[in-house]
């Protein structure tokens, strides 16, 4: 089947436009250019044979340790062999005052001890593995689709079999440098070595400065800072949009069909994102994101799409890439996401909650934005009685999902609060309150199970859903109220596996099973904290954080038996949930 690295063994580097996944063995197996939602250049993670990668490692047997340079998104991988030790520093560099390429991935190799023979090989496969053409321009290997491969003191590059490769020996105290230099619709820039080295250093300095400004001072600070740094990599800087994850089709079950493209911005995540960014003191990023999503949703308002492209477009057709075999044979590989067309009523609650949180922290909103928010609330008041696809965007018949209804209540409650403080027109406030009361009556009458002592997944069924944890988190009621306390306990009892939590019981319109959904574990910790159960919350937090990979990152799901990472990686929602849960626990008296 070829070389497939466990998802857990990847780390991520990025520059705010695109990201690369770097494996523990030094290979870069995922990189899209020029942007994170562009077609891939390296996609060995989706097809080890055809996807393309950039390998860099000793020629002899080795062991690796790695870490992010503290407070940065600059990755250091140290190879230890019987001949010596070598450190590889990987980063997507940020622009500086020098003329630089549109995108640049730098790989610095340093000899730490002894003499180690190294090899590298880059096999660019543009357009998701469909195009490969390398030629030499002067001394520099160039792919005609807009990338060059720079190498300095890393052996003479040789072009063969659709790849460029080299071998060199790394002695203690010496340095070599490799780089991917990319362009799009403009001439390639071939930077001198000194410029690449300088950008690598200034990039590390920027990340240190940025993380140094984070204001969080509570427990699990390392995990919170790593989550913030990871989230920052998911921010598409040219527009301010935040992608759910930078990968597509990493499977929720090995060999299964639950493989989705997450390189889009989900409105659902907006509330958590803005709240998390503001909690960490990242006001600029929060403002940028709020402007982006109010702008992006204008075309479709008052109906919200579930997700938008990073450039704000709403057209996200789903296609299958038949020529890719998928991660360890997990087909299909999809690009685009058909969930974009679903009706998911909970997104309105998340967006209006985000708007209220934004305003409460002193931000201003203009008249057009006020009108748009009021239209959204009116839409909820008109449509909350309809069934929808729910937060998990299941592909079965629409249902009256409890969490969707609760978030409709949140939408109308937040709109009424905005009207009360003069940010929205007071004229429609009474109607919003009336409809909110009707939603509450529906939930209490149709979505509660006496047998389970819990709210249920959707009206009329006796199934559970971890998204019900959103009800205490979004203050649908007091988290200590009997019904919400019962729901938290039922989710823990019925869906929990140790510190981990499955998403739901019952069908979802797809074949096969899935792993435990990691963000739900942190939602549970937060819900426990809000219910005043600090020790239980802290224990859940500790246990869940212990399952992160060696550099502190999480994928979307986990196999509870093996601990194997499943689903797209790294997933923003998980890291948002970590920040939120840590902050909730930190607010409690110890």
């Amino acid at each position: 089947m070829g070389r497939y690295v466990p998802i857990r063994d990847y780390a991520v580097i990025g520059d705010g436009r695109t990201v690369a996944l770097v494996a523990r063995d030094g290979a870069i197996d995922w990189l899209c250019l020029p942007n994170m939602d562009s077609p891939s250049v390296f996609a060995a993670i989706l097809d080890a044979e055809r996807g393309g990668s950039f390998e860099l490692c000793p020629t002899e047997r080795y062991e690796t340790t790695r870490r992010y340079r503290p407070g940065t998104n600059v990755l250091e991988t140290t190879f230890t062999t019987t001949s010596g030790r070598v450190r590889v520093t990987d980063a997507m560099t940020l622009p500086d005052a020098n003329l630089g390429p549109l995108r640049e991935l730098a790989r610095r190799v340093e000899g730490l001890s002894g003499r180690v023979a190294m090899r590298w090989r880059a096999t660019p496969r543009f357009d998701y593995g469909r195009r490969a053409r390398l030629e030499r321009r002067g001394e520099i290997p160039v792919a005609s689709h807009g990338a060059a491969f720079g190498s300095w003191d890393a052996g003479a590059p040789e072009i063969r079999d659709g790849g460029v490769s080299g071998r060199f020996e790394m002695a203690a105290g010496h340095r070599a440098l490799l780089g991917v230099i990319a362009t799009c619709n403009e001439p390639l820039v071939f930077p001198p070595r000194a410029h690449v080295e300088a950008r690598l250093d200034t990039t590390a300095a920027f990340w240190e400065r940025w993380s140094g400004q984070l204001t969080y001072a509570g427990p699990w600070r390392d995990a919170v800072v790593r989550s913030a740094l990871g989230l920052k990599l998911l921010v598409f800087a040219p527009s301010g949009a935040i992608t759910a994850a930078p990968t597509t089709s990493l499977p929720e079950a090995i060999g299964g069909e639950r493989n989705w493209d997450y390189r889009y911005c989900w409105i659902r995540d907006s509330s958590f994102t803005i709240e998390a960014l503001l909690q960490l003191g990242c006001r600029q990023e929060a403002t940028s994101f709020f402007w982006w999503f109010m702008h992006a949703t204008r075309l479709t308002s008052p109906r919200l799409r579930v997700l938008y492209r990073l450039d704000g477009g709403a057209h996200v057709p789903e296609r299958v890439l038949d020529h890719l075999s998928g991660y360890r044979g997990s087909r299909p590989v999809r690009i685009g996401n058909a969930a974009a067309d679903q009706l998911q009523l909970d997104t309105f609650g998340e967006l209006l909650d985000a708007a209220l949180g934004y305003v409460r922290r002193g931000a201003r909103i203009d008249r057009d934005t006020m009108n748009q928010l009021a239209e959204l609330a009116d839409f909820v008041a008109d449509h909350w009685r309809e069934p929808d696809a729910g937060i998990w965007e299941v592909r079965m018949e629409p249902q009256h999902f409890t969490e969707s209804k609760a978030m409709c209540w949140v939408a109308l409650d937040r709109a009424a609060q905005l009207a009360e403080t003069g940010h929205l027109s007071d004229r429609r406030r009474q109607r919003w309150l009336t409809e909110a009361a009707a939603i509450r009556a529906f939930i209490d009458n149709h979505c509660w199970s006496e047998r389970l002592g819990s709210y249920v997944r959707y009206a009329g069924r006796e199934e559970l859903d971890a998204s019900l944890l959103m009800m205490p988190i979004m203050r649908y009621d007091e988290p200590t109220s009997p019904r919400l306390a019962g729901t938290i306990e039922a989710v823990r009892r019925e869906l929990g596996r140790g510190a981990l939590v499955y998403r739901y019981t019952g069908e979802d319109g797809l074949a096969g099973a899935e792993g435990v959904f990691v963000c739900c574990s942190f939602w549970l910790a937060e819900a426990l904290a809000l219910a005043g159960r600090r020790d239980d919350a802290a224990r859940s937090m500790d246990a869940a954080l212990a399952l992160a990979n060696d550099v502190g990152l999480f994928s979307e799901e986990l196999d509870p038996a093996s601990g194997e990472f499943l689903g797209n990686f790294p997933q923003g929602l998980v890291h948002l949930a970590i920040i939120s849960a840590a902050a909730a626990i930190a607010r409690l008296p110890s």
């Binding site: 921010v235 040219p238 301010g240 402007w291 704000g312 477009g313 057209h315």
Partner: protein, 161 residues
């Protein structure tokens, strides 16, 4: 043909162009809002930006009408058909170079394809032919500029020498 006719045509043409784009925005055809884009170059207060942007847009519209006027003079005639031709070229220039390259390069609050993690712009760049602001945006923009050109051409052509 006269300068005053060109300025009057430019004012009327900008009025129609702005109204057309605003109408298209209200119909959810596009997210383009030229006054907003211009105004946010000077302030991040959205309301003030729009007020300021409308003023700037009218100034720009009248300045462009003088360029049209100069071209009418060179060719030796003016009329709505010729004005529409200029309007077409104007819209293509606006979509490909002005809004796609020049505006992001000088706008302090707008992202560019080069914007990286060390910056948090408030406005996404319009993209080629303003496509980032909706798939119908190029069509709407071209139609609005055709109307602008036709009005400038008609007014200049009808004015006594």
């Amino acid at each position: 043909m006269s300068v005053w006719a060109a300025l009057a045509g430019g004012f009327a043409g900008t009025l129609v162009l702005t109204t057309a784009l605003s109408g298209a925005s209200q119909l959810r055809l596009t997210r383009i809002d030229i006054p907003f884009l211009l105004g946010t170059a000077f302030t991040d207060d959205r309301t003030r930006a729009k007020v300021l942007g409308y003023g700037l847009h009218f100034v720009a519209g009248m300045a462009f009408s003088l360029v049209y006027y100069a071209m009418f003079l060179v060719i030796g005639r003016a009329g709505w058909r010729l004005g529409m031709t200029f309007g077409l070229l104007h819209s293509l220039f606006a979509g490909s170079a002005l809004a796609n390259v020049l505006l992001p390069a000088i706008h302090p609050r707008m992202g560019t394809p080069f914007t990286a993690a060390d910056s948090s712009p408030l406005l996404e760049p319009p993209g080629f032919m303003l496509l980032n602001y909706g798939r119908a945006t190029p069509i709407v923009t071209v139609i609005a500029h055709l109307a602008y050109g036709a009005i400038v051409g008609a007014v200049v052509g009808a004015a006594p020498r």
